[in-house]
């Protein structure tokens, strides 16, 4: 069963701003693939859609996207991310600087996303 909810999230901090931009970009880049938003962003979205009294949404700047091994090995997402100005910084971790959020005299903050692939170790052992 698939439930759909529409919710509005306000960015009230720089971390929020980066988190929501990362989320928006990764959704746009992966929208036609079998990809799921997981981790803190997933919890934040679920709490926005289904609020729970006494639990405040905590978001971190990064986005985690769960992808299949087939998608990972195809290199499709890597190519799309690189084409949009993202750079692979370590393993499946990608970053993209956001000059418009730069504070004078500082390095521009970065969007970041981790592409997570299921481990096959348990099936092999």
């Amino acid at each position: 069963m698939v439930l759909k909810r529409r919710a509005e999230l306000d960015a009230t901090s720089r971390a929020d701003d980066l988190a929501l931009r990362a989320l928006a970009e990764i959704v746009e880049i992966t929208g036609d693939e079998n990809v799921r938003i997981v981790g803190g962003q997933m919890v934040s979205l679920l709490l926005a859609a289904f609020p729970v009294a006494g639990i405040a949404a905590r978001r971190t700047r990064d986005a985690d996207a769960a992808i299949t091994t087939e998608l990972a090995s195809s290199g499709v997402l890597h190519d799309r991310l690189v084409a949009r100005g993202w750079a692979a910084s370590a393993g499946n971790h990608y970053v993209r600087p956001v000059p418009e959020l730069r504070i004078s005299g500082r390095v521009a903050p970065e969007l970041s996303v981790d592409l997570l692939v299921p481990s096959l170790r348990d099936q092999e052992s």
Binding site: T12, S13, A15, L18, R58, R59, T60, I103, G105, V107
Partner: protein, 335 residues
């Protein structure tokens, strides 16, 4: 567990009295919220002797205080008897959850953990030098330049440099830290917190909006300034997680109740305001604007922000502190 002044002052609320924090060791106490008695807060390792009580009262009488407010683990007979007969003597016995004020004993309902009063000596100068060394990748600094940046005398700096061991080294141009990350780690391990007094408040609404209201309350006083730390300072220096609690430093507790805040216990707080004993926090804070058109805001330096952040709750605390440290090592976040 160690007793600190803040625990003794917090106890006033727990026993049903009113209190206003007016300095890092100054509090005003009231039975009814109308008539206030200014007291000097004295943290004592042991319950004071009669002679120590006399000296404390004589010292307080030279200032504008009505008397003293001792914070001890357990009150000894000299302190209990003095508080019974002399309205100038008040105390908090934190282990028992007891306050004596104007000759009357007030008790909390709950249990209090066994604690030990440990008014340890802290070298704020040494800790500030560590922060400065962690923050500055630039040229070496002379002893006078270090003193100037942390707001102490060069003699005080000279006394503390030997205590830093191999963390800083002398070069022809002055002192420099060969390993800035080590200075960060030592500071984070050894900093005892800002000490002084702290008050906790809660309100509804987004934390960012609460911060604006606290700023208004602080600025309503002449020369009032809020130094923003913790989550919000980290969001300025190295955005990582969504701020959840306002932590700030002030010289006098502002009247935030008029701006929709209620005084609460620490676990329920959304706002935490410190009147710090550490004198270097203000000197090393910096004003900045987030973007064009924004109002200027004053932030604690990145290490004080990191320490406050490290005391907060949440599964992402370690990564938020690590992000701030990483940015501090890679960029010039403070000068």
């Amino acid at each position: 567990m160690a007793v600190d002044s803040a625990a003794g002052v917090e106890l006033l609320l727990d026993v049903g009295l009113y209190r206003k924090i007016t300095g890092s060791a100054d509090v005003e106490i009231s039975l009814d919220g109308k008539r206030w008695s200014p007291r000097q807060v004295l943290l004592a390792r042991h319950s004071p002797s009669p002679a120590e009580l006399d000296r404390a009262l004589a010292s307080a009488a030279k200032s504008r205080y009505d008397g003293v407010y001792f914070v001890v683990g357990t009150a000894g007979s000299a302190l209990r008897e003095a508080a019974e007969r002399d309205p100038r003597v008040a105390y908090a016995a934190v282990d028992r959850g007891v306050v004596s004020f104007l000759g009357t004993i007030y008790r909390t309902g709950g249990d209090h953990p066994d604690t030990t009063a440990r008014p340890a000596r802290v070298s704020w100068t040494r800790l500030a030098i560590l922060r400065l060394c962690a923050l500055r990748p630039q040229d070496p600094l002379t002893q006078s330049a270090i003193a100037n940046r942390i707001g102490v005398s060069h003699v005080a700096v000279g006394k503390q440099i030997p205590a830093l061991g191999g963390l800083i080294e002398r070069t022809p141009g002055g002192w420099r830290a060969p390993d800035r990350a080590a200075c960060w780690d030592v500071f984070m391990a050894e900093y005892p917190g800002p000490q002084g007094l702290v008050s906790y408040f809660a309100a509804t609404g987004e934390p960012a909006e609460q911060l604006v209201r606290v700023e208004r309350a602080v600025q309503a006083r002449p020369q009032g300034q809020l130094i923003v730390s913790g989550d919000f300072a980290a969001d300025f220096y190295a955005p990582w997680r969504r701020p959840a609690r306002v932590i700030g430093y002030v010289s006098v507790e502002p009247p935030v109740e008029r701006y929709g805040f209620a005084a609460v216990r620490a676990p329920d707080a959304t706002v935490e305001l410190h009147v710090p004993r550490d004198p270097t926090i203000g000197v090393m804070s910096r004003a900045a604007v987030l973007s064009n058109g924004d109002e200027e805001r004053c932030y604690s330096d990145p290490l004080i922000a990191a320490w406050d952040l490290s005391q907060s709750t949440g599964g992402d605390v370690e990564s938020a502190v690590a992000e701030l440290k990483d940015r501090t090592m890679r960029e010039i976040l403070w000068s």
